[in-house]
Subunit: 167 residues, 2 copies
């Protein structure tokens, strides 16, 4: 009887340990899953961008549009796989990556893999595109300086064929 009791006690202790370990592992799995996507968003996603110059689901929220500053500030959210067409700005544009992972590519150069904290200074008249990776959401603040003289020219889309080659 004593042996039986010890066996049952051990079994209870093992169960106890398993439950505690499962609890810890579940927390760790959740942390891993959120490593690249911060679920606490800073700004609202805003309105869906029309698919004229965007493939997939992308959203924009205008944050500042003040003529006295001659500068626009906005939050852009790309769902996984979403990206804009090749385009260029006559003065340039600034991107501040705040969440997820994405790409920035200039014509004739390899695509850059972008992460939280990356800052992109897009020079005047440089043909480029930006968007999310295939498996991650991508959020950046965009700043258009000298709005009154900064014109955007939209070009061809980034085809599924060229996008799917990116790693």
């Amino acid at each position: 009887m004593k042996n039986k009791f010890i066996k049952k006690l051990l079994l209870s202790l093992i169960m106890c340990t398993v439950i505690a370990l499962l609890n810890t592992n579940l927390s760790e799995a959740k942390t891993m899953e959120n490593k690249n996507i911060n679920e606490q968003l800073i700004f609202e996603a805003g309105d869906k961008l029309p698919n004229d110059y965007f493939i997939g689901d992308a959203f924009v929220k205008m944050l500042v549009n003040n003529q006295n500053y001659d500068c626009q500030v906005y939050n852009v959210t790309f769902e996984p796989g979403a990206r804009n067409s090749w385009h260029k700005h006559s003065i340039g544009q600034i991107l501040l990556v705040t969440n997820g992972e994405g790409y920035y590519q200039e014509k004739g150069k390899p695509a850059q893999h972008l992460h939280v904290g990356d800052v992109v200074e897009i020079s005047a008249n440089v043909e480029h595109w930006h968007g999310a990776t295939a498996n991650s959401k991508f959020i950046h603040i965009g700043i258009t300086p000298k709005v009154s003289e900064n014109k955007t020219e939209w070009l061809e889309p980034v085809s599924d064929e060229e996008y799917s080659k990116l790693k």
Copy 2:
């Protein structure tokens, strides 16, 4: 003997439950603590700002300083209780709150309590200050438009007496 065994088994199960609950509560406590401060920082804090125009520990990291844009973008981090002196900009300034909690106050008006996602458009020549609350770090992106003609004038500090009255 059977009763004794059942007692011990119950004791083990109670221990098991207590451990599982403790584990869960610790995770929840950690989540609560991080509610207002996101520990995954977007940008580096950068260099400590001299205490000429700042009380407490504040840091700045220049992100974009490009003459072609005539626009500066920088990340400012205030430790709890840190704030800048009253000052004004001849064109104005934009603040985008990305972490923690802080204040923005214009002369003659009550202080505004700022949270993640708040956007402040500071108009030309408006006397103001900004900084952290007493108990929270405060991080904002700052944008200075029209840098070439946007002059800053520093005025008196925000005294401990006026700061301590804020809620």
